[in-house]
């Protein structure tokens, strides 16, 4: 920790921010220090740490001081860490929080995650050494290489050896996983080829294939995650699974819909249903495919797509056109309303409020006033007072 210097935390000319991460604790080797909770910033030139509560407390170390870095995976009750091995501090280093340290490395604890991306970016910066080609306004810390070289030989060689061993071990595990993965993919590829040939046969023998067989084929495709080449036009992307799902949804969504005025956006439905499930979640495509079948299965809900592309689920008993009449009354009472204001008044999401007002406009009941101050709707007096 004696390699750090106090700093203002402002970037110099020519220095760029690469990535930042909150919730990082610094340790001097194995010992905790008072830098417990801060934002860690990586620039092209330095590693900067700023206290989250006291923004004045800000320290930095130049990237040129870094020998190498390694990752330490998270454990139970322990955050993931990056260990940064440093050259000894140069004699012309600016003053910092520590005059001396018995360790030649520091640890960065990522209490709020973010360690994977940060490690990747830090590795990149150390490899690219952009600080060498981008001189900044401040005098750069020059590490005296020859002196550092001698001290390096002692403690760091042992660490490098350990790292090499760990690398070999990890490589072996990963290559086994990749080998198995490649073999698996070969088999999956065979399945894809097979499905293509079956799809072609279906196309040719249009009339000869039974509905049953087509349905079974579609569920095979679903299991494998293969897009539906031929049968989409004839029977849609849905399968037995989606039909069952549609019936389930009709049950689950009845009450929530009634609570929300009979209408919900598909993103709301996605969140609601998946939060309730906890496990074995639905994919967005599963949800859309199931909803597309609601009408044909004569269920009490239906899927509706507005001009803007926004997709909603409505109760069959819900009549958006009737709601428009009520909306017109509300707007007339207030003189004029924006989507935000209307949403707050009525207790709807802004997304759906906007769609209702747009529909009212499309039906000729409202006029828009489109300015930089926002989109405002007025009752259409051209229609009523002509």
């Amino acid at each position: 920790m004696d390699r750090f210097s106090w700093t203002t935390g402002l970037l110099e000319l020519g220095e760029t921010l690469v990535i930042q991460q909150r919730g990082v604790r610094l340790s001097d080797g194995e010992e905790k220090v008072k830098f417990d909770s801060g934002v860690l910033l990586l620039s092209t030139h330095r590693l900067i740490w700023r206290d989250q509560k006291n923004h004045e407390c800000c320290i930095a170390v130049p990237l040129s001081q870094i020998v190498f870095i390694e990752e330490q995976a998270a454990g139970i009750g322990k955050s993931a860490k990056i260990v940064v091995h440093l050259h000894p501090a140069s004699s012309n280093k600016e003053s910092g929080p520590f005059q001396s340290s018995k360790y030649s490395y520091i640890k960065l604890s990522f209490k709020e995650h973010g360690q994977i991306e940060f490690y990747r970016r830090l590795s990149e910066e150390i490899t690219q050494r952009r600080w060498e080609s981008m001189p900044t306004g401040q005098a750069m810390q020059v590490s005296k290489d020859s002196q550092a070289g001698r001290i390096r030989a002692v403690g760091i060689v042992g660490i490098e050896r350990k790292l090499e061993e760990k690398r070999k071990e990890t490589d072996k595990n990963i290559s086994e996983a990749f080998e198995d993965l490649s073999k698996l993919m070969e088999k999956a590829k065979e399945m894809v080829e097979l499905s293509k040939s079956i799809a072609n046969k279906i196309k040719e023998k249009q009339g000869d294939i039974t509905e049953d067989e087509t349905i079974r084929f579609k569920s095979y495709l679903l299991s494998m995650g293969i897009a539906n080449p031929v049968t989409r036009e004839t029977y849609g992307s849905g399968t037995q699974y989606h039909m069952q799902l549609a019936k389930q949804l009709a049950g689950i969504l009845q009450t929530p819909l009634e609570e929300r005025g009979g209408i919900m956006s598909l993103t709301e439905v996605y969140c609601l249903v998946n939060r309730a499930r906890g496990l074995e979640l639905l994919s967005p495509e599963d949800l859309v495919n199931a909803c597309k079948m609601l009408e044909s299965l004569k269920l009490p809900l239906r899927l509706r797509i507005f001009d803007s592309g926004v997709m909603v689920i409505e109760l069959q008993s819900h009549n958006e056109e009737e709601m428009v009449a009520a909306a017109l009354e509300t707007v007339s009472e207030k003189g004029s309303l924006t989507a935000d204001e209307f949403a707050k008044l009525v207790g709807m999401s802004v997304l759906l409020a906007k769609e209702r007002l747009l529909l009212a406009e499309k039906m000729g009941h409202l006029c828009r006033d489109d300015s930089v101050e926002g989109l405002r709707f007025y009752p259409n007096l051209f229609l009523t007072q002509s």
Partner: protein
């Protein structure tokens, strides 16, 4: 015919899963490799929660849950940034929400989850800017002109009409229309007190260096 092949494949996948399921869960690079390989052979492991991949490897739940978290973060911040957020900020906020004991999430994971959310129709999309992405979560229409101005604004967090004229060689009217559209959508804020000419700031591009989140108490103290 096909059902036999399918059963065989299912068994192979089960074997793979028993050995390497953890690898998928813990290792983002492995996830990327896995996804890329699937794409090469024409398979989408995230298409359905009922697919083999999802059921046996558990890839599905990871990404679908991430989808829910992304939707919630975007909704919570929409009033401030108009429905545009950088991939970095989204990652930070999602990690914050996931809590201490959840797995780490890489930017590649977020991109894949977002691509799947598009199908829900609420305007999810990705806009490439300055080496990263802006994530759009509202059904606002953003065409090439808007995207190019967003990319220009990415460097400093704001942009002016003169800069657009100089860099893109557009007429004033074209620049004005694009900026007005962004203002109307709530994605840009206008600073008329800037020295020189008005500046159009994008809250989505505010970083820790330009802005700090402060509590109401701290705000009271800061004002004389």
């Amino acid at each position: 015919q096909m059902s036999k092949q399918l059963e065989m494949f299912r068994t192979n996948l089960e074997e793979f899963a028993s050995k390497h399921k953890q690898e998928i869960r813990k290792n983002p690079e492995f996830r990327v490799q896995f996804q890329d390989m699937c794409a090469t052979i024409g398979v989408d492991p995230l298409a359905s929660g009922k697919g083999f991949w999802s059921e046996m490897l558990g890839v599905g739940d990871f990404y679908y849950e991430l989808g829910v978290q992304i939707i919630e973060v975007c909704l919570a911040l929409k009033h401030r940034n108009g429905g545009l957020i950088t991939l970095e900020e989204l990652q930070q906020q999602v990690l914050k929400g996931r809590g201490k004991f959840a797995q780490d999430v890489s930017q590649d994971d977020l991109l894949r989850a977002i691509k799947k959310l598009k199908v829900l129709g609420s305007g999810f999309g990705l806009i490439p800017v300055g080496g990263t992405f802006l994530v759009q979560s509202v059904p606002a229409e953003l065409n090439m002109d808007h995207t190019v101005v967003l990319q220009l604004a990415e460097k400093k967090g704001f942009v002016t009409v003169s800069e657009i004229r100089a860099s893109l060689r557009w007429e004033t009217e074209r620049a004005r229309q694009v900026l007005e559209h962004l203002l109307k959508e709530g994605m840009a804020w206008l600073d008329t007190q800037a020295p020189g000419e008005p500046q159009f700031w994008l809250p989505a591009l505010f970083t820790e260096l330009y802005s700090q989140e402060i509590t109401p108490e701290e705000a009271k103290e800061a004002i004389p």
